[in-house]
Symmetry: C2
Subunit: 317 residues, 2 copies
């Protein structure tokens, strides 16, 4: 019999999950070619506007295959509904039996994205960064802050959003992190002062310009997961020393890397996969004054790891 959980049952399990090692291992296995991850399935709705992503696959020798459905319907907010909806499904890899239906309202996607972002920031930013800038005021901005502070010694956090009131709300929501948090007015100034920048918006035009980025900066870009969304001026990638994809195959058609390659700013041969960084088979940053970028479009192995972790936490509670 399948385990069926809704978000109110899943949420209390989250705080005790320790998925960092499993997440790193999954990226390592993926980059070693030990995963079957077909291209992302996508549905686009016009009226009202909506977007559904279906990510699926498995790790060879694993327990489950995962199918993850996550949607965004922006007009939901006017109806008093959350924009994110969806579920994660785990099926037995040997028999196809459904083991878990996690009706997570797309929250597990937000969380696994934040975990991968924090791991990438930790692996690629220079050691001495103690202040970070988060761009965006959505739920992803909050979770990036939370998991980043869990992994790195962040003392000062800057928040910038197009809507300053929303940025102030992010600051209030992060009070439990006991951090020095500043809501920024001027993105250029703030970006120029920051050696760790995390972009979490759904922008379709670049919001971060190349001239603002100083030597020694690491950028983790998690907002763009489609072929059209774009947060970074492609010249940032052109001047970067280290460009890391979560999935080279996927980033060639989605995200910042896709945009930069489309504009001829970078070449496919410059790319490293985050699994190769985690595995130590490729170098990330080798000098403090380098510019590094992690472009994370979200891979089904992350869904597999978080869903298995939730199922295991539920079974062992």
């Amino acid at each position: 019999m399948s385990t069926i959980l809704t978000w109110p049952q899943i949420e209390p399990l989250i705080k005790n999950l320790d998925v960092y090692k499993a997440m790193k291992d999954a990226f390592i296995q993926y980059s070693l070619g030990h995963a079957e991850i077909p291209p992302v399935g996508e549905l686009i709705m016009d009226d009202p506007e909506g977007e559904v992503h279906i990510k699926y696959g498995y790790l060879k020798g694993g327990k489950h295959y995962v199918i993850k459905i996550a949607s965004g319907f922006p007009a939901n907010e006017q109806l008093g509904l959350i924009p994110g909806q969806g579920m994660m499904l785990l099926f037995n890899l040997s028999t196809g039996e459904p083991d878990a239906v996690l009706i997570d309202n797309a929250n597990l996607t937000v969380i696994r994205t934040a975990i991968a972002g924090a791991l990438a920031s930790q692996a690629l930013a220079k050691k001495s960064v103690d202040n970070a800038l988060i761009i965006g005021t959505g739920v992803q901005a909050r979770y990036q802050a939370k998991y980043l502070c869990d992994l790195m010694s962040i003392k000062k956090l800057s928040i910038w959003g197009r809507d300053k009131d929303k940025a102030e709300q992010v600051k209030r929501d992060l009070i439990d992190l006991h951090l020095d948090i500043t809501v920024e007015d001027d993105l250029e100034q703030s970006a120029s002062r920051s050696n760790l920048i995390i972009t979490t918006t759904s922008a379709k035009e670049p919001i971060l310009e190349s001239d603002w980025i100083q030597p020694g900066t690491h950028i983790t870009a998690v907002g763009s997961d489609t072929h059209e969304k774009c947060e970074l001026d492609f010249n940032i990638l052109a001047k970067a020393d280290v460009i890391v994809a979560d999935s080279i195959e996927q980033n060639l058609i989605r995200g910042e890397i896709h945009q930069a390659i489309k504009h001829g700013a970078i070449d496919k041969n410059q790319l490293t996969e985050i699994g190769e960084i985690f595995n130590g088979t490729k170098n990330g940053r080798t000098k403090d004054d380098q510019i590094s970028i992690a472009d994370l479009t979200g891979v089904a192995i992350q869904d597999l790891v978080i869903a298995e972790s939730v199922l295991s936490a539920y079974q062992n509670k």
Copy 2:
């Protein structure tokens, strides 16, 4: 809150479903271009062998988008498990909210395939057919017989399978149809005598030869839904007067049509879609002595129709 049903809850609802009209309408809308159906998602497992199909999409102006997961793991039988597993999911097309999780063990896929097969046989076979040959001894053979007899006046049914004992079991299982059922020894003889042939196997090499097919025969082929499975000698399609696909886009890469085109036996321009036949905008059979073929690979709109129909039956019971 989502409606979550398992097969024991779904099964009693099936006998009262009347989905013929909805199924025809969905094919008509699909062929008019009023559907969004991305390419089928697929996962292949090696050890043990397994195959997962993910079909998804929606009808414009409809209530739901559907995601259907159906898998086949042949070695399950040795474990006392059924080979077919999976579920159908309905999400609100305007908000993305999950409305139904139907854990159907792939049975709804079998049923919607049988319904589409029966509708295609009815639309394309000549009027005076009163005996039919079903090739295959699996669950699909049984359901094709059931829905065919519901729609057409079949008096005599022949069954052929590689394993005669299994064919005898199909005959016993169909006792409620009150038909004259013959288990056939010789496929060539039986095929030559039949004007309606329904193929339901998972063969990867043709089992039905061109010379056996007489003028006036209609064949509904539902077994092949991948780029490699194949039940019909491609010369059968070459000599056919009418070749109908459920989805031309899909059949160009899956099923009998894909095989025949690959071998240069037919041309894309010869193809008609079943929705065009149902809508009356294209001709099916125009003469009794023509040979017609319906190659059905299974389209997500069928999953949408059957899932909505089950949800509605549950809500109204």
